[in-house]
Amino acid sequence: MHLDHLPHGPAAVSADAHRPDGTRRALRIGLGGPVGSGKTATVAALCRELRDELSLAVVTNDIYTREDAEFLLREAVLPPERITAVETGACPHTAIRDDISANLEAVEDLEETVGPLDLILVESGGDNLTATFSKGLVDAQIFVIDVAGGDDIPRKGGPGVTTADLLVVNKTDLAPYVGSDLARMAADAKTQRAELPVVLQSLRGGSGVADVAAWVRERLAAWTA
């Protein structure tokens, strides 16, 4: 529903592209994927890459309260008031897909308190291969898997791998140690995803981060166009 006819009225109730005051809201990008694949590390890398050119904020959805938020605070990737932790009742996939109300409140509060914002990154706590973000919450999503989780994950597919707007295969530096076949992972991902992009990333070596950041910039350009 649209509340555009209420320029200074109460908060919007849905994923409207405009805030109640008529200005365009921030682009929201979700990051999901299995436990420990490197979602928080990717959020941290993106913040470092983009914070000088964009106004950024982060929402985390943890299983145990504030782990991810606290990591980001310790790493000082953003000022503390730009990081919010949503509590998920042990079910991140519910909070990012089935009942997004707490996350919507978190992103709206961030826009209100530290805005105007260009971009809000919403991290889901590690969940399973079917955990995807609601379109009512985010405008685009990144699914992060890693080579150590098994090189057959791209072949297995699932909504995250096949439908995410960007698939990141992280920890490529570990491939030789865990016997993962990177070429096969890339080929399987290509089969599953047709034209949708895939980035191979290593946050240890630093490769791929620039590609992910470039993809985010492209989405932002499309959003503000």
Binding site: L6, T65, E87, G89, A90, T94, D98, S101, L104, E105
Partner: protein, 224 residues
């Protein structure tokens, strides 16, 4: 009035944030007060007659048209724990969002304007029921059922309790819930006639105290 609207509002999957709250069950499990279906039933019965009764009466009174601002103040007065007040307002805000999307109307928009950070959830529940064309008894039932179904679902996750046992607890409490709903609706009628002081003020002191402790845990699964 549509009976099916009651099912929409009472559905545990209605997207209004309830899934992240345990209604005090997480603190009670950690303290060893809920260890299985038997304790869960006692715990839920306690909630039903205290927090549940108050929530049911608030919700029914909101359907009857009692001023939501007075009801919200009355809910505050009946909720000593600041942590529980905060949780109730957060949930109220989330429910208002879902209700405005489901049953858009000027009254809900106005309430959103009055309470940008949320009103107590039972008050919003009553307003949502009203917007959906439901009656005071429907709203009381929703509030009362939520007051026990929340802890039951949470306990399934917290203790890996057999889900059939948890559902059995809710089924056994049903006749008692009917009786409490009747008192809640009666009290709401008196509040509509004589003011919010007529609302019940039952509370579970241990629920309030443990909610304060729970809110300070560094790591927890549920928000309350």
């Amino acid at each position: 009035m549509t009976r099916a609207a009651l099912l929409v509002l009472a559905d545990g999957r209605f997207p209004a944030g309830g899934h992240a709250h345990s209604g005090g069950a997480e603190a009670a499990v950690k303290a060893g007060r809920i260890t299985g279906a038997g304790d869960l039933e006692d715990f839920c019965r306690g909630r039903l007659h205290t927090a549940g009764l108050v929530a049911g009466a608030l919700a029914a009174a909101a359907v009857l048209g009692v001023d939501p601002r007075e009801l919200d103040a009355a809910a505050d007065a009946r909720t000593p724990s600041p942590a529980l007040r905060l949780a109730a307002r957060r949930l109220g805000r989330q429910l208002l969002r879902a209700a405005r999307a489901s049953w858009p109307c000027a009254e809900l928009d106005r309430v959103a304007g009055w309470f940008p950070k949320g009103a107590h959830q039972p008050v919003v529940l009553g307003l949502a029921a009203r917007a959906a064309g439901l009656g005071p008894s429907d709203a009381a039932y929703c509030a009362l059922y939520e007051s026990v179904s929340g802890p039951a679902t949470a306990t399934v996750r917290l203790l890996s309790l057999d889900p059939f046992d948890a559902t059995g607890v809710l089924a056994r409490l049903a006749p008692e819930l009917d009786a409490v709903a009747e008192s809640a609706v009666g009290a709401a009628g008196r509040a509509a006639a004589r003011g919010v002081a007529a609302l019940p003020a039952a509370s579970g002191p241990l629920l309030e105290i443990m909610a304060e402790a729970h809110a300070s845990w560094p790591a927890r699964l549920f928000a309350s």
